[in-house]
């Protein structure tokens, strides 16, 4: 019986079966006899989440443009279908061909968040692929590869992967596949391929790097296998306006998290918020021309049939030609009855006419990522949003008929004290008071201020990479303090489970001694750790303890400036000296201007060999 028939036999017994059978509009089918390299693009979470990921869409289409390469999609099955797969011996398969991914040349994972790591092991196991790289066949094939933001510190996964690709994949992925294709023809072995691949800029093959540790557990030194580069630099696309962008998306049948067309408008961020990993690892700032964005939007909407499109970036308002770009887009989308969604948009400095246009398409509520409760703390984290700005925008919004405001904060930020926590409640209260002070406020419902508090997680390649995370006791104290500081029923507080954030910190800042803990936790049944229903911190604690790992060594310890960090041999273009400097400035509560105002010397422009804003409209 063919695999497809076995799958279909059980498909009606599981939730949302269309996730497991492929056949969506826009999916690419090829004749496998004419294909040289097969790539399984695996997202280590369910279809509903993974299908929303824009990076997969880019690399899927890009790879499939090459006639002799075939990229297919693969996701983590939900629990019900995983049980069906295990009971009936269905190996993890790709959605286009329905062939088992264990027979593919590349099995590539995207590492979007640390809490998906156990899903990777589970998927390898479901696929029937040896979990540890050392156990795989010496023959060339079944190369387990990963990219994405978490690859900036892939050490906790070092034992499971054959290679990591650092930075942007549009050029790098094809180079790696080209090399593979060539070496496969010559009959090269896995090891020979990995040695050759390690010579490509952006490729990190963890088995060629060895760590020695001091008695206190910190890193003593790192040895590199002969002939392998000692540092690996991430790749970037130099001409971002011309970079490949898909003309079509796979359009799912079942509803997914972001069920819309999506166009990337810029990469990198000029803001330099000190907690934000994306703000540093995606440097330098680059943007597409307004016309390019318009053409890509139109093309995608026509080909997919989506009636909603969103703009993707870290901060869309920082586009140098935003007025022109939005004006063009809104004229098109309004005419075609397409819904334009504009996340991460600051509404403060638009012209009146554009503001009126935006008002027509913006139906969502108002959200501020204030992050810190007091100006002092916002200066520490370099979040350059002032209370005055928040109040002004709220006033405009209330007068325009809005009555819901959402505020995002972080708890446990460096230097944070009780005053900063009380400040969160006070800021929310002042917004409530503002609402009732406005004469022509919306009548009827009253105001609702939602405060959402995440726990700060220190991340590699940020100025806060050295910082310890607050212990659970500290966070619980702050949560209680916040709750007792809120006096109004118009303010709603929600916060995250601090245990989840602690695990995230451990995995983000960990080294390769954590591999066995991740393996043990998975063996104990951990998966979908980012899902509240599945997260089980006790099993993780058992795993750490069985593997002789002290979790607080990674989460709650200050890493010294001169310490060798587990990710020091990876070069994300931002100088470590700059991060140290920014860390010191943070502790003085001094802000750093954004990159457009003044270059702060992070080192990226020197390594790239050109000014950061050379291609932006303001400089042409």
């Amino acid at each position: 019986m063919e695999l497809k028939d076995i799958i279909e036999k059980h498909l009606l017994d599981v939730q949302k079966p269309s996730r497991y059978i492929g056949g969506e509009v826009g999916s690419v089918i090829k004749d496998k006899s004419k294909v040289n390299v097969r790539f399984a693009f695996c997202f280590p979470d369910t279809y509903d989440i993974g299908m929303s990921h824009i990076g997969m869409k880019i690399l899927y289409s890009l790879t499939n443009e090459r006639e002799n390469y075939w990229c297919e999609r693969c996701f983590a099955p939900s629990e019900d279908f995983e049980n069906v797969m295990r009971e009936n011996g269905i190996p993890l398969y790709a959605l286009e061909s329905l062939d088992p991914i264990r027979d593919f040349d590349f099995i590539g994972f995207t590492l979007q968040y640390e809490l998906s790591y156990t899903n990777i092991l589970n998927m390898l196991d479901l696929a029937g692929i040896p979990i540890f790289a050392k156990d795989r066949s010496p023959e060339l094939g079944q190369i387990i590869i990963a990219g994405g933001p978490c690859v900036c510190n892939p050490e906790p996964l070092a034992d499971f992967f054959d290679l990591f690709v650092l930075g942007e994949g549009e050029e790098l992925n094809l180079e790696v596949m080209d090399l593979y294709c060539e070496m496969k023809k010559k009959g090269a072995s896995r090891l020979e391929f990995l040695r050759a691949a390690a010579q490509i800029e952006g490729v990190y093959v963890p088995q060629f790097y060895h760590f020695n540790y001091k008695d206190d557990g910190t890193i003593e030194s790192m040895d590199v296998t002969d002939g392998i580069p000692a540092t690996v630099r991430k790749r970037i696309i130099r001409d971002y306006d011309k970079v490949y962008y898909p003309k079509n998306f796979v359009v799912p049948f079942t509803e997914i998290v972001h069920d819309r067309a999506s166009v990337e408008v810029l990469r990198g961020c000029i803001r330099g918020c000190r907690f934000c990993q994306a703000g540093f690892i995606y440097r330098p700032f680059r943007e597409k021309k307004a016309d390019t964005i318009f053409e890509q939007t139109k093309c995608l909407c026509e080909n997919t049939g989506y009636d909603e499109v969103s703009l993707a970036s870290l901060s869309t308002s920082d586009h140098s030609d935003i007025d022109n770009m939005l004006s063009k887009l809104i004229d098109y989308t309004a005419g075609e009855k397409i819904n334009l969604s504009l996340p991460s948009l600051r509404v403060d400095n638009f012209s009146e006419s554009l503001l009126n246009k935006i008002k027509k398409v913006r139906k969502s509520g108002l959200t501020f990522a204030a992050e810190g409760g007091t100006q002092r703390l916002r200066d520490v984290i370099n979040k350059n949003v002032s209370e005055e700005e928040i109040m002004n925008t709220c006033r405009i919004a209330f007068e325009g008929g809005y009555s819901n405001v959402k505020l995002y904060f972080m708890m446990g930020l460096p230097t944070e004290n009780d005053e900063d926590i009380i400040g969160i409640a006070e800021l929310a209260q002042r917004i409530v008071d503002l609402f009732y002070s406005i004469e022509d406020r919306p009548r009827g419902k009253g105001v609702q201020v939602s405060v959402s508090c995440a726990t700060f997680v220190p991340k590699p390649f940020t100025p806060f990479e050295f910082e310890p995370q607050d212990t659970r006791e500290m966070i619980e104290h702050k949560q209680k303090l916040l709750l007792s500081s809120v006096k109004s029923k118009k303010i709603r507080i929600s916060y995250h489970d601090p245990n989840v954030s602690m695990l995230e910190a451990i995995l983000a800042k960990g080294d390769r001694r954590l591999c066995s803990s991740i393996y043990t936790a998975w063996r104990k049944g951990c998966r979908f750790d980012s899902w509240e229903d599945y997260f089980c911190f006790d099993k993780w604690l058992e795993a750490f303890s069985e593997c002789g790992i002290d979790p607080s060594f990674y989460a709650n310890r200050r890493f010294e400036y001169n310490e060798i960090l587990p990710w020091d041999h990876l070069d994300y273009l931002v100088d470590k000296e700059f991060l140290v400097r920014e860390n010191k400035t943070a502790h003085e509560a001094v802000t750093t201007p954004n990159c457009r105002q003044r270059c702060s010397g992070c080192g990226v422009n020197k390594k790239v060999g050109r000014e950061c804003f050379a291609t932006c409209k303001s400089n042409i």
């Binding site: 079966p17 269309s18 049948f253 079942t254 997919t304 049939g305």
Partner: protein
């Protein structure tokens, strides 16, 4: 304005598209086709279209019906037919496009072809025959007001029943439309109640949507 009735197949993998998802899927199909579909004129304009009957998840069909309006009176039905088929998802194909002749309330029944695979098809055939010749088939049906026991036999027409040696193949007609809807799985449930013979549904598809006089609904 043209009032259009399209008949389409839903076969192969497309049988796993749920009715809710099919709605979203058709919306996007219309947009890809660039046909001048009539939009509602309210505060939130959206293309107006409706399916005559919902099809259960996992059922194939050769006769699904979709109604919509085209604002361009000069457009030929062939042009609509071709524009849609160019952009339909795998497994779904328009087989006929024509003007709406009858009101949707004219639908009275639907015809289904079932293939029930069993190792012991003789035993299964016997059980099916027993059910077919029974004076009544009582099943528990969930309604809005709770569970009630109904006799589906009186409204059920068995058109054919054959034993292929590998399976028992049935063609039956059941009430469908705005008043009463019986799903052929009710018959299968009743079958499971009277026999221990192991069988599985190898194929289940809707083959016709009919009026009270057994003519094809158009």
């Amino acid at each position: 304005m043209l009032r259009v009735r399209a008949t389409f197949e839903k076969k192969g993998r497309s049988k796993y598209i749920s009715h809710l998802d099919l709605n979203r899927c058709m919306l996007r199909t219309f947009r890809r086709s660039k046909l001048p579909i009539w939009y509602t004129e309210g505060f939130n304009p959206h293309p107006y279209y409706s399916f005559a009957l919902a099809l259960s998840l996992g059922f194939e069909s050769s006769c699904e019906i979709l109604d919509f309006n085209i604002t361009d009176d000069t457009m030929s039905m062939d042009a609509v037919h071709d524009a849609l088929n160019k952009v339909m998802p795998e497994g779904m194909r328009i087989v006929k496009v024509a003007e709406q002749k009858q009101k949707i309330t004219a639908i009275a029944k639907a015809e289904y072809a079932l293939s029930l695979a069993a190792e012991d098809s003789n035993a299964l055939y016997e059980a099916v025959q027993q059910l077919v010749s029974a004076p009544e088939i009582l099943i528990e049906k969930k309604t809005k007001k709770g569970v009630k026991t109904v006799d589906i036999k009186s409204d059920m027409e068995i058109i054919s029943c054959t034993n292929t040696g590998l399976s028992v193949d049935l063609v039956m007609r059941l009430p469908a439309g705005t008043q009463t809807n019986y799903n052929p799985t009710l018959f299968i449930e009743a079958l499971k109640n009277i026999t221990d013979t192991v069988f599985e549904i190898a194929d289940i598809r809707r083959t016709a949507i009919l009026c009270a006089d057994n003519s094809i609904f158009e």
